[in-house]
């Protein structure tokens, strides 16, 4: 098949995240299976406009804001008539390929997550209200006319609220890290948090919950892994029993996560919550807030979701941590997600089954 994927970032983009890893893992497997794959993304400083990576072609043009127009122009110049299917990978803003792919080529959208509450954490108030109440609903209602693939049940439910009818859940993938040596759990009861120190991950809630739980478990310690704009403020609060590691290498991160007894996650919303999957694969169970995305990954990984408040998190921590300290939690295969080989195969058959011409 000749496949065109539209995603505003590729893996070379400095802000690339989980969605770009997903794309890269899947595309290289499709190429290996004999398909012809092109990825269209925004320009990246210092990277060529056309490049071949792992067998697939990357075309780069436009900025964060103009990439959508550039994609359409590129389609007019070079795309039309040369593809069998177009995948509109939506990262906040859809390309609306189903509206402008006009040569009878089939299209399908792939959505990792909706933004919704995250607008208020990532944008200034006026923009956030505009985005949440006007822009995003409008985009998603337009996208609702297309067939959509979603990476979690939560994302499917969110899209359904915006009127999408043809939504199929496709699996999330994860490659467990190879640990160089067996990991021994800490002596002291240990909680780990891993994520960027930004407001929508709610790191303050973690500090508060651990402070409350320390009334029951006085020697409880907390490891905070990750950099970000809030790091200095959090550090300045000097909470008892808390160690801040800042941004660390993958190896150090995996080692710390594996040595802790429990991993906690308190985001406002996630697409899937890959960090939960990662912890489970390393043999560390998660207690997470019951919010979209974290709900999916945590329950798939055998963890527990709790009401989104520091009080609740503290109650569950002080009840469950001693149990998990006595009775170790076995690593979950692929952390409750799927192998990338599985994902690539299932995604391709979902694309083939659901994509349709406008």
């Amino acid at each position: 098949m000749r496949i065109l994927v539209l995603n505003w970032r590729d893996l070379a983009h400095p802000a690339a995240g989980g969605a770009e890893v997903y794309t890269e893992q899947v595309l290289r497997r499709w190429v290996a299976a004999g398909h012809e794959v092109t990825l269209f993304a925004a320009a990246v400083a210092g990277r060529p406009a056309v490049e071949t990576i792992d067998g697939y072609r990357v075309i780069r043009a436009g900025s964060r804001f103009t990439v959508y127009r550039e994609a359409r122009r590129w389609w007019d110049r070079c795309g039309r008539g040369n593809f069998d299917v177009v995948i509109d990978e939506t990262n906040t803003v859809p390309f609306m390929a189903h509206e402008w792919v006009d040569d009878g080529t089939r299209t399908v959208a792939l959505v990792h997550q909706t933004c919704e509450e995250i607008w208020h954490h990532n944008a200034p108030p006026v923009v956030a209200h505009l985005g949440r109440l006007a822009l995003e609903p409008r985009w998603l209602h337009r996208l609702a006319a297309a067939p959509v693939l979603a990476v979690s049940e939560s994302t499917r439910d969110a899209l359904a609220r915006f009127g999408a009818q043809d939504v199929t859940v496709v699996p999330e993938g994860y490659e467990p890290p190879a640990l160089t040596r067996p990991v021994v759990k800490e002596e002291r009861p240990t909680v780990v948090f891993c994520g960027r120190m930004v407001s929508y991950k709610r790191p303050w809630d973690v500090l508060r919950a651990v402070a409350i739980a320390r009334r029951e478990i006085p020697d409880l310690q907390l490891w905070m892994i990750g950099g970000g704009p809030l790091l200095n403020k959090l550090r300045a609060a000097r909470p008892a029993g808390v160690e801040f590691f800042g941004r660390v290498s993958e190896g150090v991160k995996h080692d710390l996560m594996a040595r802790a007894h429990v991993h906690v996650s308190t985001s406002v919303r996630e697409g899937w919550g890959l960090v939960v999957t990662e912890a489970a694969a390393l043999g560390t169970p998660t207690i997470a807030y019951d919010v979209p995305g974290l709900r999916d990954s945590t329950l798939a990984a055998g963890g527990v979701v709790v009401p989104p408040s520091p009080d609740a998190l503290a109650r569950w921590l002080s009840d469950l941590l001693p149990t998990w300290q006595r009775r170790p939690f076995a690593p979950v295969p692929f952390g409750g997600a799927h192998s990338w080989d599985d994902v690539a195969t299932q995604l391709l058959s979902a694309v083939d089954e659901h994509a349709r011409a406008a």
């Binding site: 569950w316 009840d319 469950l320």
Partner: protein, 269 residues
């Protein structure tokens, strides 16, 4: 001691995974989970099948679903849980401890606290916190099997106030105990209009309940709300919201009672 949790459902996909997940993560080693569904059209059944030991279809109302759950369960203790509740991990263990330590106790109260989104949910949280320990409001949820079978389970003629009715019949037979761990009750986003409609629907059963119980006045006065004025004074804004919420509920109930009287008067003539 085996603990059976019975969860009646009807289109509860929003909250069910968290509820059943919390039952599956009880620290007690011998726990059974039953979902008694009443023709859900959303993903309730799929979620149930992922977590529960049994998913059974039954109707027509909650009381009948719960009684059928008792019949299908095999535990020494039957605990009735709603699909919008999340249980702290020690509850099953504490139930066993209480029943073992106090053979004279046949049923246990599990205290509740509520959570949800928005201002009215915070008002509700304040209200529920005042009820903790108030015998007039709290109902038992965990029953020894012999007891629940002896008193004949839930009254299938009542769709509202069925928990008070069961509590009254339980108190005639046995002492009530309580556990210390909490149930967290998900109120979601409370909307006055929906609250009003729900209370109006429940109000239709109030006359029937009152006719069955002479001493039921204590249930409606909710003296706990004024017995702890300190908590209310500390949160004046929440208190104002709570007053609005309770007034809306009262109006709904009164209208519901009137609905049932006009319809029964109509059917008599």
């Amino acid at each position: 001691m085996k603990i059976s949790f019975v969860v009646p459902t009807r289109n509860n996909a929003r909250t069910l995974a968290a509820c059943l997940g919390s039952l599956r993560n009880q620290t007690h080693p011998d726990v059974e989970v039953l979902v008694i569904d009443n023709s859900s059209t959303d993903t309730t059944v799929a979620i149930g099948e992922r977590f529960a030991d049994q998913v059974v279809q039954w109707g027509p109302e909650r009381s009948a679903q719960r009684n059928h759950g008792t019949k299908c369960s095999t535990g020494d203790v039957v605990v009735f849980i709603d699909s919008d509740m999340v249980l702290e991990p020690h509850i099953a263990t504490e139930i066993e401890e209480q029943f073992t330590a106090h053979p004279e106790i046949g049923a246990l109260i599990i205290p509740e606290r509520s959570f949800g989104e928005g201002f009215l949910a915070s008002c509700r949280q304040l209200e529920k916190s005042l009820y903790v320990g108030d015998a007039a409001v709290e109902s038992p949820r965990a029953f020894r099997r012999e007891l629940i079978e002896e008193i004949g389970g839930w009254d299938e003629n009542l769709t509202a106030a069925e928990d008070w009715d069961l509590a009254d019949r339980t108190k005639e037979k046995t002492e009530l105990g309580r556990v210390a761990a909490y149930i967290w009750h998900d109120e979601g986003r409370i909307q006055l209009r929906a609250t009003f409609a729900k209370k109006r629907y429940y109000g239709r059963w109030i006359d029937q309940y009152v006719s069955m119980h002479d001493d039921s006045n204590s249930k409606f006065t909710r003296t706990a709300l004024v017995r702890k004025p300190g908590a209310l004074l500390r949160h004046p804004v929440l208190t104002a919201g709570l007053v609005t919420l309770k007034a809306t509920e009262a109006a709904g109930l009164l209208l519901g009672i009137r609905d049932s009287r006009t319809s029964s008067a109509g059917s008599r003539t």
